[in-house]
Subunit: 212 residues, 4 copies
Amino acid sequence: MQSRTPAGRTGRPRSAAADTAILAATRAALVELGWSKLTLGDVATRAGVAKTTLYRRWAGKNELVVDAVAELFDELRLPDSGTLAGDVEGVVLQFAAILARPEAKSGLMAVVAESTRDEALRERIRASIVERQKRLVVEGRARAQGRGELPPETASEEAARTVDLIFDIVAGAVVHRTLVSAEPADEEWVRGFTQVLLTGLAGAGEEPASPP
Amino acid sequence: MQSRTPAGRTGRPRSAAADTAILAATRAALVELGWSKLTLGDVATRAGVAKTTLYRRWAGKNELVVDAVAELFDELRLPDSGTLAGDVEGVVLQFAAILARPEAKSGLMAVVAESTRDEALRERIRASIVERQKRLVVEGRARAQGRGELPPETASEEAARTVDLIFDIVAGAVVHRTLVSAEPADEEWVRGFTQVLLTGLAGAGEEPASPP
Amino acid sequence: MQSRTPAGRTGRPRSAAADTAILAATRAALVELGWSKLTLGDVATRAGVAKTTLYRRWAGKNELVVDAVAELFDELRLPDSGTLAGDVEGVVLQFAAILARPEAKSGLMAVVAESTRDEALRERIRASIVERQKRLVVEGRARAQGRGELPPETASEEAARTVDLIFDIVAGAVVHRTLVSAEPADEEWVRGFTQVLLTGLAGAGEEPASPP
Amino acid sequence: MQSRTPAGRTGRPRSAAADTAILAATRAALVELGWSKLTLGDVATRAGVAKTTLYRRWAGKNELVVDAVAELFDELRLPDSGTLAGDVEGVVLQFAAILARPEAKSGLMAVVAESTRDEALRERIRASIVERQKRLVVEGRARAQGRGELPPETASEEAARTVDLIFDIVAGAVVHRTLVSAEPADEEWVRGFTQVLLTGLAGAGEEPASPP
DNA sequence: CCATAAACGAGACGGTACGTCACGTCTTTAG
DNA sequence: CTAAAGACGTGACGTACCGTCTCGTTTATGG
């Protein structure tokens, strides 16, 4: 977000309602039109706001959509199912549900594509979306450790690397399944995927698996 | 591709060189400008071709870029390292190398994003890129089965589902690592990822992993 | 004008009809809206033409209006009333009639105002409007000389200077009367003005006038 | 002007300095930018004043510029050269000098152009600029009558009409010479013009001039 | 060897959206 | 109540590409 009211300042303050309306309008436009046909003029109209107001707050389409999409992922909650596998399945299902929504589908990959040529945009995506949701992995592990399902951590650097790997695998697989393969990431698929993931993680560090 | 010379027809035939030049120009433009600033007029100019010639062969930017990017992935070869793990690591590294190239980075995610609202485009991506490369998974498994590293298949439907899962996990993880996390998918990372993957796949079907 | 068909050239030729339609639309817009509220987008719409077509042919509002107004003055004809005074009165009345039309009123002074900061525009006005109509003064003088009302010319440089002076006086007075004083330059006024002008010109070169 | 302090009123009074600063800033902006690129926001900034202050006092750009330009013409003085011709030449030269200044050039014709569609603006120009300077013609005639160079007036209505005609001729010719012909109204030109004018006026009413 | 017909280059065309600018108004805090 | 500050809705700007359309020209094949 960027509309900090500058506290002890003169002049008319920015409308807080406008921010909310604009982000909601952006999501609505993503649903109806998709990324490539979304225009800032249309978003402004939907939000009941002038185009200039929009440009005063966001640098362009990319930044706006990142913020609009980021809010979607704040709905993610770590369920407490009693087992690690259950918790993971629960989060992955939620993640898949969000990605199934057209506003996420349409917008997320597009800004990722744009971010390949825009360092600042990539950082914005990381800060607003990716890093923000790594909390789920960290919390999940801690909870599993409390239950005795996972051993306490050894080196913290190693632990961080594992979090990143898990995130790349989980997010990557769900995104690929949903957007490229265009198949639903439903309960059955999530169960299979989770089993492979947890088995792989549990066995890693030991000798590579060999078939019977 | 679509420029088959229609055999028994009169009139000037389509230039075969034009196709090649256009796809090469498209990749060059992707490198220099990225997806969003690439224009068909510019591609035509680079290829030394009129805009009409380009539109006579491709319906638009999306289709053109899919074809231009698809050619990149035909370079993939399954190496013969002697072990399953080695073969997998080899392929994943090649895949990562291609994804590290700016023309792939810039173009691939963009067309995937577009494909979320364009069924025909999604099918074109699947046919030209995804399904086309699943051969690698199939070949790799067959070779491992020949070596005795993997058991012979049971149900073919189950096998197909596993191929899809593997592809989602591998492609997804590499893409996420490269584009979203923006970290290199180098040898160390690939080794760790491959171990998790193979361990997970080997253990799956058995009881869920449990910590020692 | 500027849309010369470039003779031996490739590509689709410019539509000749568009030029005509645009200039007519410009005059219509001047009548309805006046200079300051005239927009090029509106002119394009009226002409049934895209805005880009308009910008392809004219650099901006100023150049367009000069061309649109210039055509108005091509209607001027030197009447043959039999006497110098009659001829002058006839032309001045026609000039006043054109200036009374709202499209001329509105546009002419505006471009003159703009031309004070734009050398190229001033030159365009001179070439398209002012110099183009000096033919009337020259013809009128020649005809009067033929009738014996005026002596044959002496020095041609002196003659040119006199033409300029006449033009400044005539055009200036009619414009000022019409636009600033906002009084009609009707027959009575024109008769009075012409008498002062011809008397002044006839007497000039001799001793300054003194009252009886 | 319109900023009379409303006498028996409460609240903070209007700053008198602001008026002066704004008009000066307007002229400065006219010099630097010309009419069409002059913006009220810029004038306000230059004057060190908020935009709202400016709008509280003037209705818009037109009215502001009329006031700013009108002050320029108050410098005009009727010189006393001893002869009518000398007096006229002196005033015309002063008038030409003012019109040569960029703030006058740029602003005056523009507001005249605007006034063709704005009755109130035309009246403001007449009151602030035109009628205000007709004093010069009246004074000049009176002085010439005192010297015996001109006969005493006959009908006052006829006299008024003559003043108007003189003003249209003089102002019109100088403006046309300066802005349209873009030639300097220098001493030589003024001398020639004055001779034609005075000769014409002296002879008018009598029989039209005929060549020798 | 010429006629037919399609592909070609060039570039004008009607559109749509862009991102910016100035307008004139409104809303805040300070005096 | 005025002032400075600055956000606001509005609407035009001039530009860039889009995808289509005319042109005149080139290059095959088939009569």
